[in-house]
Symmetry: C3
Subunit: 261 residues, 3 copies
């Protein structure tokens, strides 16, 4: 897709989130800053109906409960039926048995088009030996690119592993995105925001691998631009929203650092 | 009322919210910035008790569940008995059947003094043909001023329709508030914040129609001032809080753009 | 402990929160800005497991429900067993009977190492005559230092009373921290953030009285520095995060205003 950001801003896709209570505001706000329309709705009585009028579904298990998982399943089934992309941000998988089980329940019950997590979360989901320190990645022994590629094949999903370098694979093509800035890790929520952005790009681009790659590259570039005049996480976050808002497909052209492996 | 902002700052009314999980922080923080005291409490065991020590109740169904609606009904009944204003922000009405039913349940069970929504949310509540794209307004066929006025009469409530121009009507008087800035729509939550501000103004002004009009005008003026030095939604939000904090009844005097129809 | 901030930044303790939905993001984000790792998890199926891999537990009853209290008890029991510090922020105690009962239930069921609240919340917990206006302190008749000291003795906990001056007592030693700036009270959440910071300092310092004193002094100093270039609550909050991020044990040395009584 040639101008994904312009397309988002022109079509304003509705991106339905069932997400965590920590970063829910930033998930909504970054979706808006990119030009899509966020909506959050988790009641079992309405969540599937909300998915039905949406163009993407973003699930984030950061503060999961069993009731929230049930709503996610209802919405994901509706998304599968409507053939809109489902993004799962597997926050904290590897930290507790419950998270592992609930993530497995989702992946076993519905089709997730894009599975996203940090290195240890994805490694854990892929069956590798990995633990997560709360919601923070720990080092993994396996080769991350290989993990992403193999897991993409076995799950028929696009796999997104975020870290200093982001890895995206659909099993055939594997991309490494090197955009971003370390200040992005100084604030809570950039990971969750990334899932919302991936959902927004996938809402307008049927090639979900390309959509995820573009989303992370564009977001990383905004982070690089924002860091220039930032003194710390406070000013960085302010600048990040301003830069996303003022981003364009033209502006990112010479700044994308993407390698195909 | 002559100096509503000064009155809020001197009396510091407690404004009880049962609201959504997306913008709950900004609802609290903007209430504080205007000089009132926010409190959020939704447990059925305490919500009515919290309302009883408050001066206004703000209900927002942005992330409603049936349990939250039950708590809203308990609190609204307590507010009705205490004769303090109840504000309902009908977020997302028109998007799902469940929202329509729950909004109808509230309006059928308790008296809501001020019903607020965007054009399509209010049109839907008023029985017009309208749909809402998630929580975003869509265009409506009916004349908005007429909708507000008629619905105010039939519901005995003050109706507040927010959009590029805000319409406020108690069935007899109808105001159009033209303050505000388009950057207010670039961040998530200004609609929810507006409901909190209306609650704060209504807490000190028994004329709820005037209170809603003043609240929206003052907030819009803060938005106009904030926009002057803003580069995007990040800096705009920072400036918005600073401008609200530094607002005064004197400062807004020559900036209010209010028409009575 | 000589360099508590450096220690936090080097050891990156995991600080498990079960907290309120209003300030949950800022609790997480300030924990991160100080260098610790926040994690929020409240599902009964996993909360104790998350506590078991953590170095401190922070409980905040700002938007309590009976289910959340049950999860707090599970996590606090796990924390007691693991002998990691439990911090309770008694938000709103004195405002409703339910809050009083639930706080009493926690204090009667598990050991809380650090009990934190504003003057009226702590006075109420200590059995004094006190009421809380929502979540805002009201004036109390008793001598606050004496209340803190006596309550520390009777509860075998460190007591933290926050206000214009913060009082910390373990029953033997009583400190008054005079750092801080009035703009800290202009935004919602600095009280909740303080509890997260206390948890982060207590995670690395077994002397919880010292940890609480240092936490409040460091945070207050960041507030003083942030206030210098702030025009209101918007810019203050941005600056506060930047200052915390750029704080060091060296920088605070000559700025600490702590008296031992």
């Amino acid at each position: 897709m040639k101008n994904p950001l312009k397309t988002i801003r022109e079509t304003k896709p509705l991106v339905h989130h069932i997400t965590n209570w920590v970063t829910i505001y930033d998930c909504a706000n970054i979706t808006r800053a990119f030009g899509a329309l966020p909506v959050m709705a988790h009641a079992p009585e309405e969540c599937a109906d909300m998915t039905k009028i949406s163009s993407a579904l973003v699930l984030n298990i950061g503060t999961l409960t069993s009731e929230i998982i049930d709503s996610m399943l209802l919405s994901a089934a509706a998304a599968n039926e409507k053939e809109i992309p489902v993004v799962l941000d597997a926050v904290g998988v590897g930290a507790t048995k419950f998270r592992d089980e609930m993530a497995a329940k989702i992946l076993g019950s519905v089709h997730v088009d894009i599975i996203k997590g940090n290195y240890s979360e994805i490694a854990k989901l892929a069956g590798e030996n990995a633990e997560t320190k709360g919601v923070e990645a720990t080092s993994i022994s396996a080769d991350p690119e290989k993990v992403a590629k193999e897991f993409a094949k076995s799950s028929s999903s696009v796999i997104v592993m975020t870290g200093k370098e982001d890895i995206i694979s659909d099993g055939k093509r594997t991309f490494v995105v090197k955009n971003g800035h370390e200040l992005m890790g100084s604030i809570v929520g950039t990971g969750c925001m990334a899932a919302s952005i991936i959902g927004s790009f996938a809402a307008v681009n049927p090639d979900y691998c390309d959509a995820a790659r573009d989303a992370l590259s564009y977001f990383g570039i905004a982070g690089e631009l924002a860091a220039k005049n930032s003194k710390g996480p406070g000013s960085f976050k302010v600048n990040l929203y301003d830069e996303v808002f003022n981003l364009s497909d033209e502006k990112v052209k010479d700044m994308m650092k993407v390698e195909e492996k």
